[in-house]
Symmetry: C2
Subunit: 302 residues, 2 copies
């Protein structure tokens, strides 16, 4: 495990350096929004999505820098969603992981613009991959990867999940069905994880069947991750989560735990995790790091 932790720190450091290359210089009349965007990205975090993308890319035979703009783009998309999610009109959070949220520092208007700026910059960045593509094949992979990235981030993915989640706030227990909860988890959370792994696979030149398996694997990981999130919310604390206990409960939102109970939730996490691992193990090559990464993600204590 110690070797994994070392390698993970190394990877994280490399990804931070990579991200910095794509962040805008803070100059010009629009300097403030650039500062706010960088503040948002530099909030730190596990950089899980770019890490998953690159590991999947490498595992499936991908080499070179074509994946890099997409890694940065995905982290920007993830970041903008947090910035907007924290806004007063949405979740209204002053803090995220013990650090002041973007609107708390820059004001609401600038935080809205920073989020817009990051989403837009994500696409500017991903589109820049065409300049790295060599030959018709890489060009086509880049176009397909862009397509998947855009779809999973939008109303058929993350934004769709966000919408359903926002509307679920305060709903009477009878209105939140398991079907609706799974929709939220799959779209609000799993969609970007799917984008991470699918883009890595597509850019590596994986065939359709492999891409389908990768997408399914990411969906399972996303679900397991979110159910674990529900479990932690039930059992966690301010120190661990960086926000008050039962934050979801405060907003009267149903979770997997309130719908099915803690035991069933824990059993589901195990089952989904095992299914995801089976898919990873079916791929040739050294799956060690990827398996440890997914494992550490699902079974995190915070």
């Amino acid at each position: 495990m110690k070797e994994f932790e070392c390698r993970k720190k190394e990877r994280l450091r490399d990804i931070e350096k990579l991200l910095e290359r794509y962040l805008p210089k803070e100059e010009g009349y629009q300097k403030t929004v650039l500062e706010a965007m960088n503040y948002s990205v530099r909030a730190g975090g596990k950089r899980l999505r770019p890490m998953l993308m690159q590991e999947t890319f490498w595992l499936l035979g991908g080499r070179g820098e074509l994946v890099e703009p997409f890694m940065a783009a995905l982290e920007m998309i993830h970041t903008y969603s947090l910035v907007h999610d924290d806004l007063p009109a949405m979740d209204n959070d002053e803090y995220r992981r013990g650090r002041k949220t973007t609107h708390a520092v820059y004001g609401e208007g600038m935080a809205i613009l920073a989020g817009d700026g990051l989403l837009n910059l994500a696409f500017e960045t991903a589109v820049g991959a065409f300049r790295l593509a060599r030959g018709q094949e890489e060009y086509e992979r880049t176009a397909r990867a862009l397509e998947v990235l855009a779809r999973k981030a939008g109303v058929q993915g993350m934004i769709g999940g966000q919408t359903a989640d926002v509307e679920a706030e305060g709903s009477a227990a009878g209105e939140m069905t398991m079907e609706r909860l799974l929709f939220i988890h799959e779209n609000k959370t799993a969609a970007l994880l799917q984008a991470s792994m699918l883009v890595g696979a597509i850019l590596a030149g994986a065939d359709e069947g492999t891409c389908g398996q990768v997408g399914e694997c990411a969906r399972l990981i996303g679900l397991a991750f979110q159910i674990q999130d529900d479990i932690l919310d039930e059992t966690g604390s301010l120190e661990e989560l960086g926000k008050p206990i039962g934050s979801d409960r405060k907003n009267a939102k149903q979770t997997y735990v309130t719908l099915k109970g803690l035991q069933e939730a824990e059993a589901q996490v195990e089952s989904l995790s095992r299914q995801a691992m089976e898919i990873i193990e079916s791929f040739e090559g050294d799956t060690g790091f990827l398996r440890n990464l997914i494992e550490s993600l699902i079974h995190r204590r915070k």
Copy 2:
């Protein structure tokens, strides 16, 4: 002029039909955000940007449907910027063109999501153009057009202008320089007009020199348009603009008129307009409609 007005109505009708093809079906757990997005787009309007894009495309020899996803995408980008601009934390407008704004109908949270959804859908839509591209050349044009669209919409374009504009609110007269005002006009307004015409030119296969001229032409049009906006704000009324007189003045924002006076502003509009026309007239082909369109845009009374 009557022929122009007829043709313009025709074109507008065709563009409305085109847009409808790209709007999402209002179904699923995320239905509300889809309704809000469609409400925003269906607010009507002149559809100037897609119209400019298509006319430029045709004028420079473009044929076929490759331009269509980009037309829809640009109108979505323009629309999302208005939705976010109207938010309480930004311009705080209950009405736009005499109609309730998106947040006034759906609430602030859903309006934020609707704006995000539209920006994202714009890129999903534009990326879809790759499926229409035939051959390496069209593929490359699509990638370049995407690059320009993304850059002009972002922090180096529209969002950059929005940021500087938001920060100019309430500034003492001494802080708003002509240089800063021109930055705002060029980015907040002209950038998307440049995107309109440049994308049309790129997709039509125009060479670098022609694209440069087209971009310059659009910049001049955008500036003239915005200075005219400042003039109308000074002399207009609630009925014509759909919002109270001197709305910018109320927020103590400097305009071209307050900085240079009404006469100089009017002279500038004429000069910029003439320069833009010269560029259009330098292109071969029937420039009649395009010239009338630009003319009607710049010299509008509302």
